[in-house]
Symmetry: C2
Subunit: 415 residues, 2 copies
Amino acid sequence: MITASICTIGDEILIGQIVDTNSSNISRKLGEIGIKVTRMVSIADDHDEIITSLSRELDSNDIVISTGGLGPTKDDITKPALAELFGCKAWKTDQEQLKIVYDILHSRGLDVLDINLRQAEVPECCEVILNHNGTAPIMVFERPDGHRLYSLPGVPHEALGALDEVLADIKKHFNTESIYHKTLMVYGFAESALSKFIEPWEDALPKDVHLAYLPNTATGIRLRLSVYGGQREKDAEKVEKLLIGLREILGDNIYAEKDCALQEVIGDLLRGSGKTLSAAESCTGGMISHLLTTVPGSSEYYLGSVISYAIPVKEKVLGVPSETISANGVVSSEVAAAMAEGVRRVTGSTYSVSTTGLAGPGGDERNPEGTVWIAVSGPHGTITKRFQYHNDRKRNIERFSASALDFVRRYILAD
Amino acid sequence: MITASICTIGDEILIGQIVDTNSSNISRKLGEIGIKVTRMVSIADDHDEIITSLSRELDSNDIVISTGGLGPTKDDITKPALAELFGCKAWKTDQEQLKIVYDILHSRGLDVLDINLRQAEVPECCEVILNHNGTAPIMVFERPDGHRLYSLPGVPHEALGALDEVLADIKKHFNTESIYHKTLMVYGFAESALSKFIEPWEDALPKDVHLAYLPNTATGIRLRLSVYGGQREKDAEKVEKLLIGLREILGDNIYAEKDCALQEVIGDLLRGSGKTLSAAESCTGGMISHLLTTVPGSSEYYLGSVISYAIPVKEKVLGVPSETISANGVVSSEVAAAMAEGVRRVTGSTYSVSTTGLAGPGGDERNPEGTVWIAVSGPHGTITKRFQYHNDRKRNIERFSASALDFVRRYILAD
């Protein structure tokens, strides 16, 4: 099996100022063409450390993908370190990348500075893959033992934009095979409860099928089945047979059979149906709407929302009667229902979903921090449900939003 | 200087199914007490790999923090690997952690299963730091050379919840000193333009002061000055003197002098002022509202929003005249202004901000993908501005939202 190591370079990663998202994106893509990522390493913008670490990773892997340290500013030092590592003395300017540098800066109305021009200079011993989304080209180096290093920019959309060409180059140079992963998305269980619930099924899994639980606040639990058999079609068939039993146990708690988010499933349910959705959000503050509109083409079925953070907005814009609020409190089934019905009336949508709760910090005896009432309204009436989570504002907003999306998904499914 | 390595354990990281946020959070905290993180490594749920990698990191660092692989399910294997690495044969049950296991499961209305109880079992040679947010305790191991390993759960809020106690333990065992970092947040420049703009100032920096540029779609550019002097007060004084010149050059393009987000700065400007804010969002789909409400206590100044994704919602809820839309198009200065004024009228807020644009995919000749009109309305009238970004829906939503927050920040500042 061909193996790879991903090395991210940059002090900003080591001091925790940015979260490295490149590694996971690159790894996923490598997995799709059957390359196993054995390690991910983050190292400092330090000449010696770059040389030592990349060299070590190249010793034990066929492929090393590095990102970062290629910017125009003075703290980026990967390029000279790579030249030294591969013993290059001479430099060349890549004319095609130079043209891209000019195009990018002109399209942004920026002057072309010397430091921009230097971006197109690379060690003579490397091959260049063009970076169409930025100024620093992708550099490809090969060692005498055939192990290859791909140096990508650190800016995520530049690293990802060049990835297809990097993968094509990898396929040309290595004999890639297959790892088969199948992911199911499950909502409505704690990890240990799900594990207990499916234990007999899990215990009967063949030895070469590996099951992993990946709980996540925003998406529920990902169940991932992996087969390192190397024969993609046979592995897929084997997993497909195993899944029949799991589907019987979990039913519509499984919301998707691929890695995706609740809002994408809602999009799939509504797209082309002529049915529409709106939201009235209080404690979730716009996150449900944001998630719904991350889906390209969501304007086909998503009409809009009212974020009624303040009580007068609930009354005036959504028409929640002030008596409903004074009689039941803002965090109540009745207010959630009135909000959902209000936004459905205002926008004219087929379905609507609402939230009213306490993301924190703070709460009271009746409604401790982490309480939320969620309502869904539609052609068959309005239903509400109370959820109780914990003491973490950010996570509560995520959990409330995910629970609301799952609640509206189940309503539409049943409809 | 005391050094540390952070090791994250889990196949889900290596296959790219989750993004590792623990490393950056832990690293930031270590930096605050003067510990330099030299490497971050992600490795597989593999017995031998765990032992080999942790052992190697312990050889070259005083401290190793590992996260992950401690869950109740069958794919988590860190605990036996650690027992072997540190030569522990016997196991003990931590009674205090066991009590927490019972409390957590009962509070969530879940049955206590055997696999939950085993969470409180640890190798006898380790010290335990309680995990109050989850079932797996933190385990602390020490080698004969004094190097210490802290094994934390992988679930982010559990890892972070225990971090203060881990840091206290580190301070007790190591003689920590100081690294001084100062971060400035800058909005409104491309990286290379900013670099050119402040070049004379940068070139005059003393040798022991390191400057880094960290561009980010959602926050603009972080400028980070680092001094590895070891004398915190002296270093702070030195940096403070250097900043006087930079402030003159950049003015209110610097929106904060600490690592924070635009919405937090807006919160600081509005909190206690009696002034309020609302938003009317089209192409940003709720993200501005979501960002505003990530700030604890935002209900003091943020009243609410209308997400008018569909045209009828713009007309009906925000009162945008249909002639304004037909005469100028939805993506126009006029519609942005009418939306901002509409939501200000509906919510009664002091200020409002609006967006109308094309996040993509798709656009037309007049308004290519990545075009947005932003308006801010307030006591001194309504102003609008057009921004042109690129071809990436997710990034455009982030950029539009950040530009809108920066635009309203400047309006409030000038007010």
